[in-house]
C-alpha cells in the first residue's frame, strides 16, 4: 500500500467539508471565521501535496501567498467582529439583519 496524492485529496475534501459545515451550522461569527481558516488550510494541504507529486516548487509559493492573505483577512475580520460586538452586544450572525426590509 502506497500513499498517493489521492489520499491527500480525500483528507483535504474531508477537512474542507467540515469547514463548510461549520460556516453553515454555527451562528457564532468567530467560529465561522475559524471554519474559513480550516477551508483555506485544506486547500493549502492540497497545493503542497501536488507540489510534491509533480516536483514543482510553485505550489509551495502559492501556499505562502494564501497564508499572507489569510493573515490580513483575519486581522480585518476580527476587527469587524469587535466593532459589531461593541455596537450591538452580539456576534450571533442571525442577529445581524439591519438591512432586512
Amino acid at each position: 500500500m502506497v500513499v498517493t496524492v489521492g489520499w491527500y485529496v480525500a483528507l483535504s475534501v474531508a477537512l474542507f467539508t467540515v469547514g463548510a459545515l461549520g460556516v453553515l451550522l454555527r451562528r457564532n461569527a468567530l467560529i465561522i471565521f475559524m471554519s474559513i481558516e480550516l477551508m483555506l488550510n485544506s486547500a493549502n494541504l492540497l497545493l503542497v501535496a501536488f507540489a510534491r507529486e509533480y516536483g514543482d516548487l510553485n505550489g509551495q509559493i502559492l501556499v505562502f501567498f494564501v497564508l499572507t492573505v489569510a493573515a490580513a483577512e483575519v486581522a480585518v475580520g476580527l476587527a469587524l467582529v469587535v466593532v459589531i460586538f461593541r455596537r450591538r452586544k452580539s456576534i450571533n450572525i442571525d442577529d445581524m439583519r439591519l438591512m432586512k426590509g
Binding site: 483528507l11 467539508t17 469547514g19 463548510a20 457564532n28 516536483g55 490580513a72
Partner: protein
C-alpha cells in the same frame, strides 16, 4: 509521500480535531482544537518535503492567527455566545446545512473515485524545497505578487487604524 501508518494516524487527528472545532460549545475550546489541526497539517507539510512551509504554518497560523483569535474571544468574553435570542424560526437551517455538506462530499467523492482509477503510485520527482530555493523563486519570478502582498498588508493595517479612529469619535 509518507508511510500509510503515519498518514492514517495524522489524518485521524486532523479530522477529529476539525470535528472538535465544529461541535464544541466553548469558543476557546474550538480555537484550541483548531491549533491542534494546524499543527497536524504542519506535520503533513514536513512529510511532503515542505519544511519551510511547515515552519511558516506553525508560526503564522498556529502562532499568530490563533493567538489573535483567542485574544478577541477573551476580549469580548464571547466564549459561550450562541443561540439567537430573538430570531424567528431558523430550525430548518440545520438539516439543510447537513444536506448541502453531504452533497459536497458526494460530488468530491465522485470526482476522486473517477480519478483514482487511473492513479498509480509512480516514483516521485526530486524536489529542492530548501528556504534558499523558495527565496530565489519568491524574489525572482514572483517578485511582483510579493510586492502586491506588501500593499495588501499595508491596506489592512491602515483600515484598522482608520476604524479605531472613527470608533473613538462616534
Amino acid at each position: 509521500m509518507g508511510q500509510p501508518v503515519v498518514f492514517i494516524a495524522l489524518a485521524l487527528v486532523a479530522i477529529l480535531s476539525a470535528f472538535g472545532m465544529l461541535l464544541s460549545h466553548n469558543a476557546v475550546h474550538a480555537a484550541l482544537f483548531l491549533v491542534l489541526n494546524f499543527i497536524t497539517i504542519g506535520v503533513f507539510y514536513i512529510v511532503l518535503a515542505a519544511p519551510f512551509i511547515a515552519m511558516v504554518q506553525i508560526t503564522v497560523y498556529a502562532g499568530a492567527i490563533m493567538v489573535l483569535f483567542l485574544f478577541v474571544i477573551m476580549l469580548l468574553g464571547a466564549e459561550r455566545l450562541e443561540g439567537a435570542q430573538n430570531v424567528p424560526n431558523t430550525a430548518w437551517q440545520r438539516p439543510l446545512a447537513v444536506f448541502l455538506a453531504a452533497v459536497l462530499v458526494l460530488a468530491f467523492g465522485y470526482l476522486i473515485i473517477q480519478e483514482a482509477v487511473s492513479a498509480t503510485g509512480t516514483a516521485l520527482p526530486p524536489l529542492d524545497s530548501s528556504p534558499q530555493a523558495i527565496g530565489e523563486l519568491l524574489f525572482g519570478s514572483y517578485i511582483f505578487p510579493f510586492e502586491v502582498t506588501a500593499v495588501l498588508l499595508l491596506v489592512s493595517m491602515i483600515s484598522l487604524v482608520v476604524w479605531k479612529a472613527q470608533d473613538k469619535r462616534g
